[in-house]
């Protein structure tokens, strides 16, 4: 489109799905500017200013963007919607493609970037995300990065039985809490502390890779839990 960047793939990636908010810009697969803030609240206020800061630092305008990326959860329902509403509106306004990755896969990518599977033992990875309830959101991955089964939500009591092995590596913002549970003491030393929060920098690199086109999910939230509602007595009785 624009002559100066005709050959460049410029990806804006955002994540507000969990306990941090981030935005990153990648040009041809290399992150040129990023912001990352630990926060569980205030995503809706900080997201647009954070993106402006990133674009300014990267000396890039909205019209230079050729692709968008967003994480679709699971995580905080509101946070997931803040990110998706923003990304979908960008895609509409800029008329450019939106690539979507679930938060488990994003954290697994981050674990790979951190080199967790270069250790000798080659154990699988369990990604654990805070559900804002007692439950854990869990998805496991083989050392190759292939997912081992679907994403699921499980109670603290069920967790040990759902892990891929007795000694997986743990990532995600609920990993530290999981490692304190009875029966999971042996995982305590295996929490990847640097892979706690989703990070838009990894998301931007992932979206810059051609394989992302095939891996991309629909631009819809992965809630993993139905709304907490009950039917009125009269209806329930029917």
């Amino acid at each position: 489109m624009t002559a100066s960047t005709s050959a460049s793939r410029v990806i804006l990636a955002i994540d507000t799905s969990g306990s941090a908010g981030s935005a990153a810009l990648a040009r041809d697969g290399r992150v040129t500017a990023a912001r990352f803030e630990i926060r569980t609240r205030g995503h809706a206020e900080r997201l647009l200013p954070m993106i402006s800061e990133v674009l300014e630092e990267a000396e890039t305008g909205y019209s230079d963007i050729t692709g968008l990326a967003v994480s679709v959860g699971p995580g905080s329902f509101t946070g997931v919607r803040v990110g998706l509403a923003t990304a979908r509106a960008f895609a509409l306004g800029l008329d450019c493609p939106l690539l979507c990755l679930d938060s488990f896969s994003l954290l697994a990518e981050q674990a790979h970037e951190a080199g967790y599977n270069r250790t000798a033992e080659n154990s699988p990875l369990a990604v654990l995300i805070d559900s804002r309830r007692q439950d854990f959101f869990l998805r496991s991955y083989a050392p190759s990065g292939e997912p081992l089964g679907p994403p699921l939500s499980c109670t603290p009591e069920e967790l040990a039985g759902q892990l891929p092995t007795a000694h997986p590596w743990l990532a995600g913002d609920a990993a530290a809490r999981a490692a304190t549970l009875p029966g999971l003491e042996m995982t305590a030393g295996r929490v990847l502390e640097s892979v706690c929060h989703c990070d838009a920098r990894t998301l931007a690199r992932w979206a810059s890779n051609p394989r992302a086109q095939e891996q991309s999910l629909p631009a819809a939230p992965l809630y993993l839990r139905a709304p907490d509602v009950s039917y009125p007595n009269k209806v329930a009785a029917k």
């Binding site: 993106i51 329902f77 509101t78 709304p227």
Partner: protein, 359 residues
Amino acid sequence: MLVLGIETSCDETAAAVVRDDRTIVAHKVLSQITEHQAFGGVVPEIAARSHLEHLDRLIAATMDEAELTFRDLDGVAATSGPGLIGGVLVGVMTAKALAAVNDLPFLAVNHLEGHALTVRLSDDVDFPYLLLLVSGGHCQLLAVDGVGRYQRYGGTVDDAAGEAFDKSAKLLDLGYPGGPALEQAAKQGDAGRFALPRPMKGRPGCDFSFSGLKTAVRQALSEIEVPSLQDRRDLAASFQAAVADILEDRCRNALARFRAERGQPGPLVVAGGVAANAALRARLDRLAGEVDTRLVAPPLKLCTDNAAMIAWAGLERLRLGDSAPLDFPARPRWPLVELQPPGARPYPGAPPVPERQDA
């Protein structure tokens, strides 16, 4: 001047484009009624999920209908409160993002100001006017002196009028949404059959109370062994007549105060979902005639929640030089009297902006 408006504060996903010559260029409303029906009321999480699912496509369809591109717009407005916060955030983030990529002002519209200014879009009403704002969540009387200039005369001390309609309709098993269902049933009922109370009627001031009336409906219903359809219709008609009496009485006091303070009898403006009720409109119309003024009520499609009113309120603020920063926080609670005018004097001799009052 063209403004895109977005409304997601309750159970309608809506988008509209309005122009400063008061033309509604495009107007779309997607109701979630069927999604909430089984629960007998709006479920906030279901509403928020549904808004996200539909909003961007609804905006695209609205722009198509308007035959406009985003570049043709002068601003993007969204309901930024009060309302169900999960849904409000979907609209706010969408509007902020569209404003940012197109380098347009973002307009953070108070949903109640949208209702309050609708008659300026539909009927070109000048300031000042007396506003009865009646909906499922609100019931208040305000003097409107300009954009962002509201003086509260009174409001409900318990339920909103629309809430009383919805809850009574539920008690009477008339269907969902309750307001329109009760109005339909009342048409075939005898309003004189049940002597229901008129809380606050005859008292000075402009406050309302509806919870006692709702309780009286429950009481009257429980005294009938097996209520027939006609019993329920009669009770609906008696309820509606009581609400009409209360609204008329409170508006009469407010009109007297308005005339004393502003030197003109009205006009009386009614806005919000309950303003769609024809029986209530007729009663207020008669009252306005009695005190030598007129009743102005927007067309039905602009009484219930819609985005044209949000676009219009945004446009009114934009042409007075107002806009909101992109870190604007959405507000679940946001009383009208906390709003500030954008700076321009609304009309010669306008009284000063009242101090913030407790709602």
